[in-house]
Symmetry: C2
Subunit: 306 residues, 2 copies
């Protein structure tokens, strides 16, 4: 099994109450791929500039993350984002965005990627996501879409087109409300499923994540922390863990989706503990299992009837 | 086993996007007692005016809710609150408050109440809560305190005095932050436990409830609804179900507390489905068990390791 991931490979510059990250590796495809690589082989489709370090490609290779589909542009720089988190770490301001190579990105999918049974359309312009779908040969695949408020606001028609063609949408609560104009997340999930996806995950940050299909609801709480060091990439790490687990489980029924949401939450819980992708680079099965135990302890209770 | 409850017995007038309740029975002691009465005998300490209906006392008697400790004032009216919920049902404005009988309330505990093994200090002025504690003869009891932002702001010294003498504090997330000046709920819970309580429950509305003691954390998600009809009294119903369950379980260890939080959440989930106390008056073990099943289904998953 392998997962095709499209998204950004970028540099981030992050300010939090705990300090500054300086220039570090970020981007949706980086977080998703590192997180999912603990479960599956990964095929990245992305674009970088002349400032992107070669060491990153060799590190990805060791992790069975294939970068054949990553375009390298010689006369431009990589996508760059600078942001500052508020003291409560729940909100952030964008200080600077340099689109650079992303501006003219036209994804090209290598033939070797056509065997991927799972596809993650990471947070990037809907036009790029559509281009990936258009290039995929017909096959049985499970396609997961991530998006953000920016695309809901400025690229709504494109986003609606992508939505028709995916199995699952992952977004946060404010994005779900923005997309559907419904405050109730139950109602919002129903409206989203009418747009195409057979299931929806609504992420609620420190409040956990809700999974919906047409018949069922599952609520996975988030592990409470004393400090959130850097929330950047937590949503991408979640999607990586989620789809990584599904590809390992070789199932997408509701029971598998529930477990996948837990594993996604586990991977996101690592991500927020260090700057950027750092925490995602130093995990192993033992650490993941230990964190999974903490999640189970957090929400397990014994009573089943009075 | 029995539970001593102090709180208000009042009239509410509630406006929601779904309509107006008109003049209905409300008050913390009413919600707590009705909720807890499905699990235990109840002894109420409260005060009402000349407008309070006699039928309410006979209904309470049928439910094994003793009102011997409820003072009836002939020349004054009952406590009255009028409020209006915002369209998202998460915020509300107070339109009118008439303290009436509550203004000069000095609780008097009947001798027959001294056998209560559980005490709920419902949301009322800390001075009245302290008076109850002062009148209790020394005995092994489990004492649970509920409070609100008003008392944190205007009666802080009294509240801190009560906190020293209780086993558990129940409050919502914004109140926990207000009381401790900590944004992180993990840090807030630690500060609260330094003030006296051995355990803390932080309610997060639609996001569920967190239970802390010095060693453990438990997170009970809330059942997602399409519509919240009237959130008034949900917190009181939670506390009633919580302590009601503990008195039935005859245990206050962490496993019992976890189950109690689930039962509290179950009772709160009924409360919000109709105006005022209406939903809490028509339950039975079968309905409660069915809702408990829905909670278990909501958060249960099977994976325990990779």
């Amino acid at each position: 099994m392998s997962i095709l991931v499209i998204g950004t490979m970028a540099f981030d510059d992050i300010e939090t109450p705990f300090g500054n990250s300086d220039h570090i590796i970020g981007g949706s495809a980086s977080f998703i791929s590192l997180s999912a690589s603990y479960f599956s082989e990964i095929n990245i489709v992305s674009i970088v500039g002349n400032d992107y370090p070669e060491t990153e490609f060799s590190d990805f290779k060791k992790r069975k993350i294939c970068t054949e589909g990553v375009q390298r542009v010689r006369d431009k720089k990589s996508f760059y984002w600078k942001g500052r988190y508020h003291p409560d770490m729940n909100e952030r301001d964008t200080i600077e965005t340099q689109l650079n190579v992303i501006e003219d990105f036209v994804p090209v999918i290598p033939q070797s990627y056509q065997s991927s049974e799972f596809v993650i359309l990471g947070n990037i312009a809907p036009a790029a996501q559509l281009s990936v779908l258009d290039q995929l040969e017909p096959a049985q695949r499970f396609i997961v879409l991530d998006t953000m408020n920016l695309w809901i606001n400025i690229a709504n028609p494109g986003l609606l087109e992508v939505l028709k063609r995916v199995d699952m949408l992952v977004l946060n609560d404010s994005e779900a409300r923005l997309l559907t104009n419904e405050y109730s997340l139950v109602k919002a999930s129903k409206k989203i499923m009418e747009l195409g996806p057979k299931s929806v995950i609504i992420k609620k940050g420190e409040h956990g994540a809700l999974l919906f299909d047409k018949q069922n609801i599952f609520y996975c709480p988030a592990l409470p922390f004393e400090e959130v060091f850097d929330p950047t990439g937590a949503g991408d790490s979640f999607v990586g863990g989620l789809v990584g687990f599904l590809s390992q489980a070789k199932s997408v029924d509701f029971d598998a989706l529930k477990n996948a949401v837990v594993l996604g939450s586990v991977m996101a819980s690592f991500c927020i503990q260090e700057f950027g992708t750092l925490a995602l680079r130093n995990l192993d099965a033992q650490k993941i299992n230990k964190r999974l135990d903490a999640f189970t302890k957090l929400s397990k209770y014994s009573i089943s009837s009075l």
